[in-house]
Each structure stands twice: as structure tokens, then as C-alpha cells.
Symmetry: C2
Subunit: 241 residues, 2 copies
């Protein structure tokens, strides 16, 4: 399902982990992070499969089903890595069920275009955020995360469909611009909840003996980058952010 090379050799990777994993706090943070991303990928699979039912044509339905299958392949790679790390992947995912389901419950798309914008804007924002954190991790974990967040084909497809809809009816643009802002607000609110509840993840951002800390100024710069990328994505869709 994925083209990623195996994260470890066949003799069992857990015994040859990078030195960073000797620190139990680091290991716990990586398990937490991979659990969060894995939950997100499974959730993306389900959401895309769900949205497929709203598609105006069979071809669009098949496009969304293809994206969903790609996300599921990402999920499998993350799950396998969690097992290699000696973690129960489903236990690692469990703490993130609440925040993810709350986000989805508050941002249930009411039509095909809201679903498309959510797939593009929401997944883009999540990917940016995880990539920021991945910069603090060992190379193997970083590569796995970046691979897992690869665009599943959403971007070009969504930009094309949304721009055509706005061209056909300008009111669609106003409505979807509001929708994009709401998605951003709900995502930030759930991210804050996760940061407050997950000590290991927070400790990761606070740094360690051999790892740089994310100080307040760095967190500020990170949020600036996330906001700028969000604005770029909205602009690509033809929407004001």
C-alpha cells in the first residue's frame, strides 16, 4: 500500500533504535505522536469514504475512494511502526479519539463542497503541524511522518472542483470562505486540548539533553507559518481566509 522502505531490518527493529529512544520520555512522545497521526489517517479514510457518497458523479466518487485508500495505506505504515516500537497501536491511538471525533462532529460537511474544502484545508493544516513537530525527532521517525502526510491526491482535485463551483456561482465562494475559517478555529481548539492533556508530547516540545527546546518565540514563529500556509491554501481554492 505504501512505497516506504521498511523502518528497520528484518531481525527486529526495536533493538537497533536511534539513541534518542533510550530516553523513555522521548519514546513515549513518539508513540503519542504516531498514535495521533495514525488516528488522523484512519479518520481521514473514513471521512473521505463518507464524502464519496456526496459526489455528483461516479468518477468523483471513485476519486475520493482512491484518496481514502491511500490514507489507509499511510495508516498501515504508522501502525506497523508502532508495533515495531513495542507499542499497542490501538492503545496509542485511543487518547486521540475524543479530540478527533469532537473536531469531526463540529465540522460535519453539509454538502459535497464543504467536504472537499475540509479534506484539503484540514489535512493540509494537520500535515503542516505534524511536520513542524517532526523536525524535532530522529531521522527515521521524521521520514515516516513526512511520508505518511504525503498528499493523497486531494490538492489538485479539490482545487479544480472548488474553483469551478465558484466560477459557476459566486455565492459559493462566500459560504466556503466562512467554512474555511471555522475549520481553522475548530482545529486550533482541538490541538490546544491535545497539547494540554498529553504530557509526553508537551515534554518533547520542551526539549531534552540532546534536543533543542521549542521556546515561546519558536512557537510563535510556528503559528505564523501555519497561518500563512492556511492562507495560501485558501487562496489556491479562490477563497478569502
Amino acid at each position: 500500500m505504501t512505497e516506504m522502505p521498511p523502518a528497520s531490518d528484518e531481525s527486529g527493529g526495536a533493538r537497533q533504535e536511534p539513541v534518542a529512544f533510550a530516553d523513555p520520555t522521548y519514546r513515549a512522545a513518539v508513540v503519542d505522536l504516531l498514535g495521533a497521526i495514525a488516528y488522523g489517517e484512519m479518520s481521514a479514510f473514513e471521512r473521505l469514504a463518507d464524502d464519496a457518497k456526496l459526489a455528483p458523479t461516479l468518477q468523483d466518487r471513485a476519486e475520493l475512494a482512491a484518496m481514502a485508500s491511500t490514507e489507509f495505506g499511510h495508516f498501515c505504515a504508522l501502525r506497523d511502526r508502532l508495533v515495531e516500537l513495542g507499542a499497542d497501536p490501538f492503545a496509542a491511538m485511543e487518547p486521540f479519539r475524543g479530540p478527533f471525533e469532537a473536531f469531526h462532529a463540529r465540522t460535519a460537511p453539509s454538502d459535497w463542497f464543504e467536504g472537499l474544502v475540509k479534506a484539503y484545508v484540514g489535512d493540509g493544516l494537520a500535515a503542516d503541524f505534524y511536520r513542524e513537530i517532526a523536525a524535532f525527532l530522529d531521522a527515521g521517525t521524521r521520514d515516516l511522518i513526512i511520508e505518511s502526510l504525503a498528499d493523497a491526491g486531494q490538492s489538485d482535485f479539490v482545487v479544480d472542483r472548488v474553483r469551478k463551483a465558484i466560477a459557476a456561482d459566486h455565492r459559493v465562494g462566500g459560504r466556503l470562505a466562512l467554512w474555511g475559517r471555522r475549520l481553522m478555529g475548530e482545529a486550533l481548539s482541538q490541538a490546544q486540548r491535545v497539547a494540554a492533556e498529553r504530557d509526553a508530547l508537551s515534554a518533547l516540545l520542551a526539549g531534552g539533553v540532546d534536543r533543542p527546546a521549542l521556546d515561546l518565540a519558536a512557537i510563535g514563529r510556528m503559528f505564523t507559518r501555519l497561518t500563512e500556509n492556511h492562507t495560501d491554501r485558501m487562496a489556491r481554492l479562490g477563497l478569502a481566509s
Copy 2:
């Protein structure tokens, strides 16, 4: 997504088709049949992804998502073959949207176990039916169909979960036995509708110059086999049929 070898060589398969394809009625029947199976696979993908949300554990959710992805892989192989045959795959699928959606609307599972039984009994019945028809086709089409109908991992998973549920509460068995009978009835009713509406498919069953016909006695024997297999599947689940 699928391990199937390409159905034709790289120089473009349509020019080297088996002689049967020289008959436009045969070609139309194969396009019809592949369209029906492709719609069924996309529909199975969506239904399994939907049922995943009813799963009692994250692990079961992931199992259903894996099955859904396998079904989507089958869909892709069928779609690619339709394109090779010079057909628009979505146009070929379109006539079957009505019967499939009617079947799903009338058999929407009300809980996790009804969804599991439907995945096992419904897909098993469809697979048996298509395999019966595939016996009348050229070897390449037959192999593609049989490959597409390979068990996506449902059987062992569903049998395990349903048997455990009946062991825990015998009333579940009575309810699911009724459900299995209803699935069989609705499937037969939609199959009859398809047979009545699709002339090319019906002509296929009536035979051709170089192909045997399916006479009434043969149709009778086919239904006996379908019913026997259905009874076997229900018995494996621990259900009376």
C-alpha cells in the same frame, strides 16, 4: 493494489482480444458484467468503510477499513480492464446504480452484526453468482472476475465475531438468521430486475455460435448451487437459513 497480472501486453490490449470479442453482443455483455461487478466493488468499499464506524473497537475498525481498501483495489482492476476494452467505465457502471442502491437502501444494517452478516452473506452470494456467469466467458475475463471476487478477508473475521456474539447471547442468532433470509430475498429480487433490464447480459446467457447456452435446466441447477452455498455460509456463522 492488486496482484493480478496485466490483462494484456503493453502494446495495447484491445487489438489482441480473444476472438469472442469480434461479436459485438459478446463485448457488450462483458462490458455490462464488468460494469456491474465494478459498481458492486465500489459499493462494497463504501459499505465496509461505513460499517467500520459501528465497530466496537479501534482494531475492528481498522480490520473493516483494510477490507474496504482491498475491495477498492478490485474496483481499480475492473475499471482498468473496461478502459482497455474501449469502454467508459463509469458509463458501464451507471445502469447498475439503481439496483445496487435499492438493495442497500432496503438492507441498511441497524447494528454492527447486521453489517458483518451482510458483508459475508451478500458478498458471498454476489461472488457465487458472478462466478457462475464467468464460466461462460473467455479465459482473460473469467480470470479477472475470479480475482476481483477473492475474499477480502471478510470470511474468517465475520465468522469469528458473529459466532462469539451468538455464544454470548443466543437471541442474537435468531435475529441474524431472519436478517440473512431477508438479504437473500432482496438480492434475488434485484438480480431479477437486472436480468430483465439488461438485454446484452441476458443474450450472453442465451449462448452464441461458439458458446453454450444456459437453458432452463441449467439455470435451475445454478440456483440450487447458489442456495446451497448460501445455506453453507449461514451454517458457518452458526445461523439457520
